[in-house]
Symmetry: C2
Subunit: 347 residues, 2 copies
């Protein structure tokens, strides 16, 4: 695989911004999308990091992502709104929704903004972290192209729909960010590349039989976490996004690699003002108190540390700030190629 | 165990209402609490059914549940409110919150109502089903006395916090209703009573070691579904209830069998108006369409039917309407004793 290089986040950020501007985004838009990608890399979620630029560039060229961005407000009330993303970058639509949800919650106590006709938006956690930094509770859901079956089925009708909850706290916000399969498709693709088997319980083949062969798994379905519970959750996230917004249902969503097709994803973003219920400082102090109770509580056999949701990602982020973001030679080569293709300065 | 008797729901409902009136509830209040219990029995969730009357009666006598009911509004805005349940029956506080959330959503598009200082409220699904029948999306969360540990820990700091989402649809509403352990504590208590081992993976003993002994499991912790994912979910439900409402955190909640102590549970109930996003009839038609796609989709190895979340409970409800609710001789004896104690007409 060759040795990893450690690249300063700001260099990656500037590179991504250059690429995205070249693709036709305004500089504000390019900065935002770049930040969502670099944040993912910094947190060690490299599947949602800068490597995505390559697919995004191809999708813009082929028409799957529309530039210039044209997001429109379909309906709006004091506490709710519905946006049509016009097949823009999902990040731009979801961030606009998060900003609107916060503004509405600042007026009403709660704001709920739906988005339809959107594209892949990166990590759901980006938007709930943003809302939590505005001192509100953030909830963000999205549907995604079909990868899971209903529990007991074998046809991929359901997306591995991501969802996230972010909560202000001290010393830092608390956030949950997850999808609903036991293992991400990315891990199975990696195993397939390396020719290694996957653990039992991750997937079924296209005939609905358990498989440890990653290639057969990719032709079949991912299994939900918690069996019928994870199925129920991913189904409901699909209902609260695609069906509620009048957008597409999971089964109708195009995969990110159907380059010339807008994916037609839907998102739902909610902000809830804490002070409608309890004073903010008290709330944050209590978050800090439960965090220390959890961190210092006695451990089960075989565990050396107890983590809060999002804590491992936050720790990696601190590492990345110090040491830079680790990129493989092949990732760097791919990015430099992209720079060449688009005629922007290399990394 | 003796033979089960099948009792008509209406007889059970009237019996529960008599008992609850005798405990000091108004007849409207008694009818409501009775309905939540009988609905649970009809759906086959007998752990949350009429058998609970016995503990409730003891709690009222000992002061854990306060009668007469005195629920107060602590704060209120156009879209949000916070209630203090005054240690009332949790059902009465949660239903009041659901009604307020619906009224607020009818004005604003969305209503969010928190409750603190409450008691056990039965099934979360009762309240989301109610909201869904008002043609809105309902979400309901509650914290509960500690039963789970943070992932990697062994101290029960977290409740097996129930949560539910209900959605209008055709021919019937769609609803998800779950807690976050792999197996309910009730199942483990049952195994303990029968002297049978529990499957591996359900629980840890008090030293944080895996156990299949139900007695040791009850002294230890229940394991969350989906490992760290279920832990993250139950933690966030606790934050969005006890911490958001300024109530107690999971670890501070008293168990239902601490008869003289108000449990100090917190709930959060939300209603979302569908028509702010998409026409209601279209939404319901599409729910019906995805339900048939799921029901008719090809099955995985070893499955004879694919179920929607809540479908099995609904089917049992239809059965119960026809055949009556199955009660064991010991349950009937306990209920008749209660009638004798309280001097109300027996079942």
């Amino acid at each position: 695989m060759g040795e990893m290089s450690f690249v300063q986040p700001v260099l990656l950020h500037n590179f991504a911004t250059r690429v995205l501007e070249k693709l036709g985004l305004t500089s504000t838009e390019a900065e935002l999308v770049a930040e969502t990608l670099i944040e993912a890399d910094m947190q060690g979620v490299s599947t949602h990091g800068i490597i995505r630029l390559v697919t995004y560039a191809r999708r813009v060229a082929a028409g799957g992502i529309k530039v210039p961005t044209k997001i429109t407000v379909v309906r709006e009330g004091p506490c709710t709104a519905l946006l049509d993303a016009g097949a823009a970058f999902g990040q731009l639509a979801a961030f606009r929704a998060a900003q609107m949800a916060v503004a509405k919650a600042a007026q009403c106590g709660v704001g709920v903004v739906g988005v339809r006709n959107s594209n892949h938006f990166g990590r759901a956690g980006y938007y709930t972290e943003y809302i939590a930094r505005q001192e509100m509770i953030g909830i963000c859901l999205s549907n995604a192209s079909p990868r899971l079956a209903p529990w007991g089925g074998r046809k991929p009708l359901l997306g591995n729909n991501p969802w996230s909850i972010g909560v202000p706290g001290e010393p830092d916000i608390l956030f949950l960010d997850m999808a609903n399969s036991i293992a991400a498709a990315g891990k199975i693709r990696e195993a397939a590349k390396l020719g290694k088997p996957i653990p039992p319980g991750w997937a079924l083949d296209r005939n609905g039989r358990p498989t440890t062969d990653p290639v057969q798994a990719l032709e079949g379905i991912l299994l939900p976490f918690g069996e019928y519970k994870g199925y129920g959750i991913t189904l409901m996230v699909g209902v609260l996004t695609g069906l509620l917004t009048g957008g597409k249902w999971d089964a109708e969503i195009k995969p990110v690699d159907a380059l010339d097709s807008p994916q037609e994803e839907s998102h739902l973003v909610m902000a809830l003002r804490i002070t409608d219920f309890t004073p903010l400082e008290e709330f944050k102090k209590r978050i800090s108190s439960i965090v220390s109770q959890i961190k210092s509580s006695p451990r089960a056999d075989g565990f050396s540390e107890i983590f809060l949701p999002g804590e491992i990602e936050r720790r990696r982020r601190v590492e990345s700030e110090k040491k830079g973001i680790a990129l493989s030679p092949s990732t760097i080569a791919v990015l430099q190629n992209l720079a060449l293709e688009l005629n922007v300065s290399p990394l």
